[in-house]
Amino acid sequence: MSRQPLAGWGRTSPSTADVRAVGSTDDVARQVAGHVADRVPGAGRGVLARGLGRSYGDAAQNGGGVVLDMTGLAEVHAVDPGTRLVDVDAGVSLERLIDVLLPRGLWVPVLPGTRQVTVGGAIAADVHGKNHHVHGSFGDHVTSMELVLADGSVRTLRRGTTDPEEAALRRATVGGMGLTGVVTRATIECRRVATSSMVVDTERAGDLDELLAVLATDEDRYPYSVAWFDAVATGGAAGRAVITRGRHAERDELPAASRARPLAYTPGVRAAVPDAVPPGVLNRATARAFNALYYRAAPRRRRTEVQDLTTFFHPLDAITSWNRLYGPRGMVQYQLVVPLGAEDVVRRVVADVAASGHVSCLNVLKRFGPGNDSPLSFPTEGWTLAVDLPVRAGLGHLLRGLDEQVLDAGGRLYLAKDSRADSATLRRMYPRLDEFRATRRRVDPDGVFVSDLARRLEL
């Protein structure tokens, strides 16, 4: 038994749990079956699987309970370039998956903003990437997965199954934040790529209106699209942005020197932020400077630039522990989605953040395509916006104000990022929450699977 404090990537509300390493599906089943359920009065505090801990809030914490460290359950069982199917354990990271797939001309179908997530975590949060508007979210590409249930039994959940119970459990598990059971193994349908490079168009937008207009028109020409915007500037420069959109490069688009090894890939050098960052490194002045510099450093307009993977997908993965920059109280990442037509809400949110005095540097705007049928899956068709804010006095008040605007527009927050919403608000954001709860109660009546997030939001 190893008692450890666990926090999310935002380093905000740690809690202590009994962390146990697992190395096989049998291990997981044993741990789960031998456990006393959370809802039994005076008994245990439940079980939760944790991957690489990249969710920002309390999703991968279970204070006082058991947390299964899934990163040791990490075998790649089979890769079939013919069918494009890869069969892996849930603890395999997307970084590792890229390493395995790319030399065979295959590509992970959905990549979030970091490669440091496990396959299990990607399913639990139903993560999305720059290609959501074309390819949907991670769960859409999982053809089959193995789930350890509360009684220790193992179920296989297949995409497109005709068994209604299996289908309901699969829907609840995708985006279900680990609360239906423990995913131990999954088969993922990959994409085929000819090279490890991207062909990227970069352009700037002078303000938020221009940004929204660009993203609303040209979007279907690019499978990958995202915009960074300035969340500090006010007035005419409010919401100025850098839009990067691209597609996988074909072999003949590479520089001649690279064509011999089109799939070559180096993850890049890792730098680390030291453990002792004083509070206040990220303040109004430094954030304003960062936002302005980032905007000005981007080309006004550049077409068909060939970029490597890390530059395009995961520039932050080159710096480990960058979350330490936010100081001892940590940070909150606030990510919302509102339907198309609610552009005014996007404008108001950007204006409110800029006017609040709270500062954000990693600000992302993207247009989502239609969502899937999972009740707790975050993406729905519309505008998604993310800002990350160091915790300071008054932040709760600002974000509650934003919550109201998101609710009024029929939007929602992303559970993998949330660390402070309340249960009443969340219930209104996810109208199918009752369906999720019903499925969860059916497969886990005593509440064996639980997390700090589930307790806070009464999932």
Partner: protein, 252 residues
């Protein structure tokens, strides 16, 4: 659990009619919509009024009976308060000032002060610690006093109980660290309140609201000791080292 922006979802006041405890609750109530507050105190009109005020601020309020002089009952009170929810922030606020001369000349008076100010808080602290260990998180706010830092002739029995209280909760904070818990020991100077009504205020006197503000700021941050006002810290640091011959002549 206290969330990322420092907002607790549940607050437990052990000594729920203490003016300082209520000032803390009111401060959180204005900040956290739907906060759950448990007032553990002797049943009284004051408790009912406090519950009414907090309800009007949007809190859901539960009232529990607490007898500070019956330490053996405290575990059951904490158990009842946490049956349906984790405790995010607990405030140990009950205490007696007593008559300082009676307290060292009358056995019953002295022992009663020791029971309410020290033995009771030990029982409460152990019960809270058990809950914190089981839930893996939680903050205990312990209202100590500068009187415990260097007891003086004028109220040394009270001072001795607070010295014990302070030492117990300081140590409890260390013990709970590995369990995800935190204890904030609060050392106010003279606080204008019912407890001190009629006494001459000492220098650096504060109001319950000042203590509440300092407590909430400490819980938001990472402090484990807080003096109110902050200037009390260097003052006490000096006073602790003043030779006794000089100390006894100081007009304190």
């Amino acid at each position: 659990m206290t969330d990322a922006v420092g907002d607790p979802r549940s607050l437990l006041l052990m000594g729920g009619t203490s003016e300082i405890a209520l000032a803390i609750a009111e401060r959180y109530a204005r900040r956290v919509p739907g906060l759950h507050v448990t007032l553990a105190a002797r049943p009284s009109q004051r408790r009912a009024e406090a519950a009414g005020l907090l309800s009007s601020l949007g809190c859901t309020v539960a009232e529990l009976d607490l007898d500070a002089e019956a330490p053996e009952t405290h575990a059951a009170v904490v158990e009842a308060a946490t049956a349906d929810r984790d405790v995010d922030v607990a405030v140990v606020a009950y205490g007696l000032l007593g008559d300082p001369e009676e307290a060292w000349t009358d056995v019953d008076a002295g022992v009663r002060l020791a029971r309410v100010n020290y033995v009771g808080p030990v029982a409460t602290g152990i019960a809270l610690a058990d809950r914190v260990r089981r839930q893996g998180h939680g903050t205990v706010v312990a209202l100590s006093s500068v009187a415990g830092e260097r007891p003086r002739r004028s109220n040394f029995v009270y001072g001795s109980t607070k010295a014990g209280f302070d030492a117990f909760y300081t140590g409890l904070g260390e013990a709970l660290r590995e369990h995800g818990g935190r204890v904030v020991v609060v050392r106010p100077g003279f606080v204008h309140s019912r407890m001190t009504a009629g006494l001459d205020p000492a220098p650096l006197a504060v109001r319950p609201e000042d203590v509440a503000q300092a407590v909430v700021a400490a819980v938001d941050g990472s402090a484990e000791q807080v003096w109110v006002p902050a200037a009390m810290r260097p003052v006490m640091s000096v006073l602790r080292h003043v030779p006794r011959r000089v100390f006894r002549r100081l007009p304190l």
